[in-house]
């Protein structure tokens, strides 16, 4: 009975192989040609088969391998604006986002790959194991009938006798072994289909770690090698563009060619940071604004243009060609393939030659009964075949160890030509400063306008009214003392209101606590006036410079207002710490979802900090909590130079 079960299990394994081949047939165009719409269907069909196999396994072998698929995501819901959302993309109809959701669900589930693993490996492990008893039972009669094959002759024993004994043994052993084999096959299937125990996971993690260290850097070396060679057609393209552009006057070809090159260079800058751990900033100058003049013309260089498109085109050309980084890019594009070959090929060759050139042939020749082959350098080392295996393995190991080092060197090389020069860094800084200065000037002008308006409509007007009241009192005091007294009371009220308004105004310009106590206590006072529990921790060495304190204070005030008004927070924590950098974090437990650039409040904070080269980082996932981190360099807070005669 169990022998038949074994046969059934082997059949199941074989069916799994067929299913796998069916899926692979869809994977080839799916992954290879980008026809991703072919992917989820076969996988989901295959899941049905695997599910069926799981129930059979359970019934036949008594080994349960429960399915652990990630549950299917809900279909995309129509949003109030009529769109359907997938990730960060909006769609008009529900079909495409639904498909994308399914695709990510199926391919992102590790259980899918466990299924594939089972389909691939089970036929040669569990399946064979299950087939063993049936094989023995089948081999018994064959042995009895046909006798022992010639290669299995046992010296000293007559062939017929040996065959008879072995045949009987096989016939007996088959059914005896069958239950055990069936159960073992079940265990193998379970190991392949499920996530496995802790020991396996631990081993898996270690193997993964090894792969990450060695395999990953090896793959990156190969990828970079390929990318460098991709630079050759790009070089040809750029050269063609420049030649045709400058040589034949087809200048419209220059900009696209240079843009393509920038794209490749930027990609490599990114990879240098991500793979080689050598961050390479983008060196290009920011593109200047195209401004329309009073007479309706656009000026680019020394040329005036009537139409915006032509001016735009010329300006783009100037922007691309007048940037030194462009010419450094071209130099890089010419030399990079060569350098990449010199750097990246040796470790690659060491691994390839070490394994396939030295070790493998020798291994085959040693392990398998095949005739010796090879020459002085293939499968042997200078004629010595015995040295080939250790030297080959050593070479491969060395190549693997070299690859991280080579990756780093390659990153350095990329930085050498692609990183911004000191001039470019300064130019970028000037551009940023120009922008933040313009911001500062605008903000200051707006602030002064507000103060002027407040004074004009507030305190000034009240003082005028007070003066008039006093004039009236002067006239009335002799004739109608009672009326005069009433007027005086009104005058006093008027003065009090004026004082209150002035107080509010002063608070908005430069809070008195800030002037008297400095940042930490000013923020504490602010926290006391906030209708939320706010905890303030501060570690500040003495007073900071006044402009810095003011900017930081108003930034915190803005952040607290946001937390109260928009986040719906119930507690807020403010932390102030100063070393070379003043670091302020404002963390609330509110709804989150704050994005810089969206809220005018965050934009305001960025503007305030920008004047001091400060940065705002917002960490606010939807659902909260929100954490704003503001960092302002303390050293550059008051860059007063005596030579500066600029007035703002």
């Amino acid at each position: 009975m169990a022998v038949l079960r074994g046969l059934q299990l082997a059949g199941l394994a074989a069916a799994g192989l067929v299913v796998l081949i069916g899926q692979l047939a869809a994977f080839v165009p799916g992954f290879g040609l980008g026809m991703i719409f072919l992917l989820p269907g076969p996988i989901l069909l295959a899941r049905r088969f695997t599910g069926y196999a799981r129930t059979r396994l359970d019934r036949w072998t008594g080994v349960a391998a429960p399915a652990d698929y990630v549950p299917e995501p809900p279909p995309p819901q129509r949003q109030p604006d009529g769109y359907y959302r997938h990730d960060r993309q909006l769609f008009r109809g529900p079909r495409l986002p639904r498909f994308l959701g399914r695709l990510e669900w199926v391919l992102g589930d590790m259980a899918t790959f466990r299924d594939l693993r089972w389909q691939l490996l089970n036929p040669v492990t569990g399946g064979l194991l299950a087939l063993l008893p049936a094989g023995l039972v089948a081999a018994g009669p064959v042995l009895l009938w046909r006798g022992l094959p010639s290669w299995a002759a046992v010296p000293g024993v007559e062939r017929g006798v040996a065959a008879g004994m072995l045949g009987c043994l096989a016939l007996l052993l088959g059914p005896v072994l069958a239950p055990t084999a069936v159960r073992a096959s079940g265990y193998v299937s379970r190991a392949l289909l499920t996530r496995g125990g802790r020991v396996r996971q631990l081993l898996g993690d270690r193997a993964k770690g090894w792969f990450q260290r060695q395999g990953l850097s090896g793959t990156r070396v190969l990828a970079l090698l390929g990318l460098s060679l991709l630079g050759l057609p790009m070089l040809a393209l750029t050269a063609l563009g420049l030649l045709l552009g400058y040589g034949l006057g087809l200048i419209f070809l220059i900009s696209p060619a240079l843009s393509c090159m920038r794209w490749l260079a930027n990609w490599r800058r990114h990879l240098a940071g991500a793979w080689s751990d050598v961050p390479v900033p983008v060196p290009y100058l920011p593109r200047p604004q195209l401004a329309r003049q009073a007479d309706g013309m656009y000026q680019v260089g020394k040329h005036l243009y009537r139409t915006e498109q032509v001016a735009w085109f010329h300006q783009r050309l100037l922007w691309l060609t007048h940037d030194r980084a462009t010419w450094r890019d071209i130099l890089w594009l010419q030399t990079d393939p060569l350098v990449a070959l010199l750097l990246l090929v040796p470790p690659t060759l060491m691994v390839v030659y070490g394994i396939w050139g030295l070790a493998m042939p020798r291994l085959w020749m040693t392990l398998l009964p095949i005739p010796e082959y090879g020459n002085a350098w293939y499968g042997s080392l200078g004629g010595s075949a015995a040295a080939a295996i250790p030297v080959g393995l050593l070479l491969a190991w060395l190549g693997g160890r070299l690859s991280p080092l080579v990756l780093r060197l390659h990153g350095r090389w990329t930085a050498l030509l692609l990183a911004p020069t000191r001039g470019a860094v300064l130019a970028q800084r000037v551009a940023r400063l120009t922008e933040s200065r313009a911001d500062a000037v605008d903000a200051q002008a707006a602030e002064l306008r507000r103060i002027e308006r407040d004074l004009h409509d507030g305190a000034q007007a009240r003082l005028v009214a007070l003066g008039m009241t006093l004039g009236a009192v002067e006239q009335l005091v002799d004739t109608d003392p009672a009326a005069a007294k009433a007027l005086l009371a009104r005058g006093r009220e008027s003065a009090q209101t004026a004082l209150r308004e002035l107080r509010e105004l002063v608070r908005g310009i430069y809070p008195p606590v800030l002037a008297e106590r400095g940042l930490a206590d000013a923020v504490r006072a602010l926290a006391l006036d906030t209708p939320l529990p706010v905890t303030v921790t501060a570690d500040l060495p003495g007073r900071l410079s006044a402009p810095l304190e003011s900017a930081a204070y108003f930034a915190v005030a803005e952040a607290l207002t946001n937390a109260v008004r928009h986040a719906g927070a119930s507690t807020v924590a403010v932390d102030l710490a100063a070393g070379t950098v003043l670091r302020i974090t404002v963390a609330d437990d509110g709804a989150g979802g704050a994005e810089p650039g969206l809220g005018s409040g965050l934009r305001g904070i960025e503007r305030r900090l920008g004047m001091f080269d400060g940065v705002l980082t917002v960490d606010s996932p939807p659902g909260g909590p929100t954490r704003l981190t503001m960092e302002i360099p303390c050293a550059s807070s008051s860059p007063r130079t005596s030579t500066s005669s600029e007035r703002v």
Binding site: R492, A495, V506, V513, E516, A527, L528, P531
Partner: protein, 218 residues
């Protein structure tokens, strides 16, 4: 009543001297700076000090710090602090030692001579005079505990005046009710807030302020 006055603006200083002396107080010293104030306080040991927060030479919280320093030397020295702005932060610092004889008012309050002098006398007698602005912020700025929200509007008015440091008589006068009515309100407030009854005005104020301050989750 012997008064030490610290105020750096000439006009205001002269005005305050006149106002105080017209109402029977003696200004034993009128100083301009923080160090002078500390010296004057320790030598004259006045019945009350009227102090501006911001004084030369630093024009920061010089006056406040000098007053606090003097109170450390002479515990319970009555100090009335004047400022162009009031902060809960400063109010806490002034009240921190819990020994009474503290006033903290906006300079605007000087415009109402009657009330200002009442505050001076109260502080000199070891009582408390908190600016209505501070009390208002204490009661509304923070998320007051549920019991405060459970008070009636009139009870909250009484609580506010009580926190400023007014006596039952003064509260009755301010709200145009009888003293007995005020007493009933106060008893009700103390029951609702679960505070210990106290006949001593100053201890009562401190209890109420501490309660309101506690209501502020800090």
């Amino acid at each position: 009543m012997r008064v030490v006055l610290a105020e750096d603006l000439y006009l205001l200083r002269e005005g305050l001297i006149q106002l105080l002396q017209a109402h029977g107080a003696t200004v034993v010293a009128a100083v301009e700076t923080g160090p002078e104030l500390l010296a004057a306080l320790t030598t004259h040991r006045p019945d009350v000090a009227v102090v501006d927060v911001r004084l030369p030479p630093t024009h920061t919280d010089e006056g406040l710090r000098a007053a606090l320093a003097a109170r450390r030397e002479i515990p319970g020295l009555p100090v009335l602090v004047l400022s162009q702005h009031v902060e809960q932060l400063y109010a806490r610092e002034l009240l921190a030692d819990g020994s009474g004889g503290i006033g903290y008012l906006l300079k605007d309050r000087v415009l109402n001579a009657e009330q200002f002098l009442d505050a001076v006398r109260r502080v000199a007698a070891g009582g408390t005079a908190m600016d209505p602005d501070v009390i208002a912020r204490l009661m509304s700025g923070g998320r007051a505990k549920a019991p405060v929200a459970a008070l009636t509007a009139r009870e909250r008015e009484v609580l506010g005046l009580m926190a400023e440091g007014r006596s039952n008589t003064a509260i009755a006068r301010a709200l145009f009710v009888s003293e007995g009515a005020v007493g009933k309100h106060i008893a009700s407030i103390f029951t609702k807030l679960d505070l210990a009854q106290s006949d001593d005005d100053n201890r009562r104020v401190l209890a109420v302020l501490a309660y309101l301050d506690d209501a502020r989750p800090q």
